[in-house]
Amino acid sequence: MRLFISFLLILFVLSSSFAQTDTNHRDKVKTLEKVSIFKRKKKKLATDVKLTALVDELLGTSDNISFIKRGAYAWEPLLNNMTTERSVITVDGMHVFGACTDKMDPISSYMESNSISSIKINSGQHGNMQGATVAGSIDLQRISTPFGQDKAWSGSYQTGFEFNNNQTFNLGNISYSSAKFVADGSVGYRKAGNYTDGSGNEINHSQYSKFNTSLGLAYKTSELSSIKVDAIFDQANNVGFPALPMDLWLSRAIITAASYQQQFETGLLRVWDTKAYFNAIEHYMDDTNRPENLVHMDMPGWSTTYGLTSRVELKQGSYQGELQLNAYDNLSIAEMTMYPQDRSERTMFAYTWPWVTTRYAGVSSSNTWNLSPISEVNIGASVGTHYNYARYSEFNRIFYPEASESKTRFLPSLNARYQLSLDKFRILLGTGFGQRAPSVSEGYGYYIYNSFDLYDYIGNPDLPNETSYEVNAAINYESEKWSISSQVNAFHIRNYIVGKILSIGSPMNYQSVGVKAYSALEYARLFNIAISGRYDILQHLHWKGTLTYARATDNNSVNLPFIRPLHYQSSLQFMHKKMGIQAAINGDLSQNNFSPEYGETPTQAYAVFDLSGDYTFNLGKHHLTVQVGIENMFDSFYTTYADWGNIPRMGRNVFTTLKTHF
């Protein structure tokens, strides 16, 4: 362990002293275009109606993403209707692990919309480049200014106010770009009060405040090589989680990286990119604003990760490929101290994550062959070793006396995809196989209270790997005026990990009704379909629409929880000169396939209308855009299938944004 860390530290120092970043942007883009094999979803960073949105709202613009919401902040992104244990979420390819046993801090919560430039989502086994996954991967990519921009200095500033929860935000970016040196930075601060639902009730404990800043420095060491250092700092204070029995007092993340990139003009090897990284998260929950709680608890958590990625891009003739090494070491610690009613009595202590180390090292490769000008085949593979060790494994042995001290797993992944482009049609057929290891909570969690089904959860270190078999297909028709696409995927997942009621043990958290052990189902099946279309009605009037549907059951045909019912969204966008108007509707049909076994109650259909207008003008030398909009225009009172504890969503919200850049 120590050796490993020193190794990483040396690499870290080496790469920070020598190495790396984005070479000439144009080069890079070109390379990427050439080597880009998977269908990469680069999202433009705005929603249909909002110019300046939360990272979560941006993520939500993807058809594959839905959310479990525990409040107004830090939504848990579900990829292909699967929770975060099943996806790999990275920041610029770096693994970051949350420090909250109650999932208050998905990695996306440590970003701000002005600190990222794009979000890359790969579905299923096509997301295996960063490591073992079942659902796919989400990579949040930090802003990155190219070398040699025409303007040396550029910047932007966005500010706004949202009336429903008195949210204010101020987001500023500045960058400097010369032929040899690039610096970019972002600062963002948001503060919001409680929001009000569609019935006019204030949702207590839904406030938040967040500060985020990031800095990147890149230096071109030669025509074809560069070094780069990056850092992101994020701090959230006083964040309410109305659906949970606790709030967040403070959560803080520092995410740092040093990287080196070398490009090659000729030969098989085109790009070599190596990065060493370190990130640390601290997370402190707070129940002191919940006098209704019978028991006062302290539940701090820490997560520290060291990692290394190194990747090469290859190209020769009709072949292009990518080879990537990933290694990381994470230590996750979470504590629970319960205070007795008589405070003079002894406090009670346990680890909810008993110092769990996860070490992963794996190699992934993706290879594409252009079979003909209209068809290509892609084959990807990845193998990794996954090692877990709990320093205080005696906690886990209470429930599993035979639990092994440490556990090493071998995680293979394979995927294949065939793509055919016929005139305006594009057809994709794919399949995949992959395994993932249990998460820290699933393997080593100890009395983690789940306020959704009211059970205390116990991890099992010897759970089998979750094994996914997947098929997917997509068809896409695109013409000048309109396009339509449909994608479907189906997963058969063996050893699907869920909580099963345990006959032994009694609850520890006072709200709890029993103990559940993370257990492997024989299998579960998930099916997702999305159909989306676009139509340019007039030159300046565009329509967009999406329909998604999903179904998921376990081996006893019991519904799995948090599966989105039929969902639709549709938007109209009108632009005239310097003015734009956007109108959107989105909603779910009623949730009929809910899962009482997993604590779900049915939710009703809802529809929400949004409307916004923006206007761009110049004020002296400044280029300004103002937007005024209204979300949930008709003040619908609604809750969705994925609102934790069915907390109502926000009612009518008027928002304003002012955006300027130079």
Partner: protein, 293 residues
């Protein structure tokens, strides 16, 4: 990087309630003829409840440690004029594996004594010769609740005692638990103490019983919380009873017991409620010992 809140020092956390224990030190000594008898106890102190004892004999003339043929040991307390009692103890001391000292134990009970002072009797057999010595000792209250004991009257109208021996320093997780179970028998109280007389073994080990275990946290906020995978205590070769107790977290725990004899008849104890009752103090069984760590 330093954190806003420090991580808990787990070692410190789990030993916070446990009085510090140093090494074995001499707690009493006596001289008989040319022999010096040194009785060692943890911290050099005799505590109420279970005490592990080490006895060393030195020949004062040569200054060397000697190994007698056997050593007998008995603690005696005077109840009234002419009436004395003893407590559970090991009468025939046993040589330690390395022959460095002799091992024994004494479980002092002071609760029922009007005048809780004790006299230790040690008899050495060297060659054919008996050497008997005594010394007066006092006991201190055991502050480590993990060595608590309980004295009770069984359904058979006999007086029993259960004393915890181990773990002295429990951990969250699985702990082997060792207890001594004794029963008081009526003896003739001789006016004059006769060393080595079985008449004074008022407490004898209880054999072939089972001590059923149900550990729970009595604290109201814990709602009668319990732990899984505990193992009832059964008798070992050395007479003590051993089982397994799981503690899911630090804090106050109540070990609820049911003592059953070899025919499975309940000597004492009742099954406690297994209901989870947040906010309500867990109801302890009629036979229980409280611990704290």
């Amino acid at each position: 990087m330093s954190c806003t809140k420090e991580k808990t020092n787990y070692l410190e956390e789990t030993s916070r309630e446990i009085p510090e224990v140093f090494d074995f030190q001499e707690a009493s000594s006596m001289l008989v003829d040319r022999y010096r008898i040194s009785i060692e106890a943890l911290n050099g102190t005799f505590y109420t409840g279970y005490n592990e004892l080490r006895v060393r004999i030195t020949d004062t003339q040569t200054g060397e440690t000697i190994n007698p043929d056997s050593i007998q040991f008995i603690p005696i307390s005077k109840i009234a004029d002419g009436v004395v009692t003893s407590c559970p103890h090991l009468f025939q001391l046993q040589k330690s594996t390395q022959n460095a000292y002799w091992e024994g134990y004494s479980i002092f009970i002071d609760e029922q004594l009007p005048n809780p002072t004790w006299k230790l009797y040690v008899n050495l057999v060297v060659g054919q010769q008996n050497y008997t010595a005594t010394s007066d000792i006092t006991t201190k209250e055991q502050l480590n609740k993990n060595l608590n004991k309980t004295l009770f009257r069984g359904n058979d109208s006999l007086d029993y005692m259960i004393a915890l021996v181990s773990p002295r320093n429990p951990q969250v997780g699985t702990n082997p638990i060792i207890a001594g179970i004794f029963k008081r028998i009526t003896t003739t109280h001789l006016a004059e103490f006769v060393p080595l007389s079985p008449s004074y073994y008022q407490y004898v080990a209880v054999n072939d019983h089972t001590l059923e275990l149900d550990p729970r946290m009595p604290e109201p906020s814990m709602g009668n919380h319990s732990s899984p995978n505990n193992v009832n205590l059964s008798q070992r070769n050395d007479g003590f009873y051993e089982g397994v107790v799981n503690y899911t977290m630090t804090g106050n725990w109540t070990l609820n017991f049911i003592l059953k004899d070899a025919r499975n008849t309940i000597v004492k104890g009742n099954a406690v409620s297994t209901a989870f009752t947040p906010g309500v103090q867990g109801v302890k069984g009629e036979l229980h010992i409280d611990i704290l760590f």
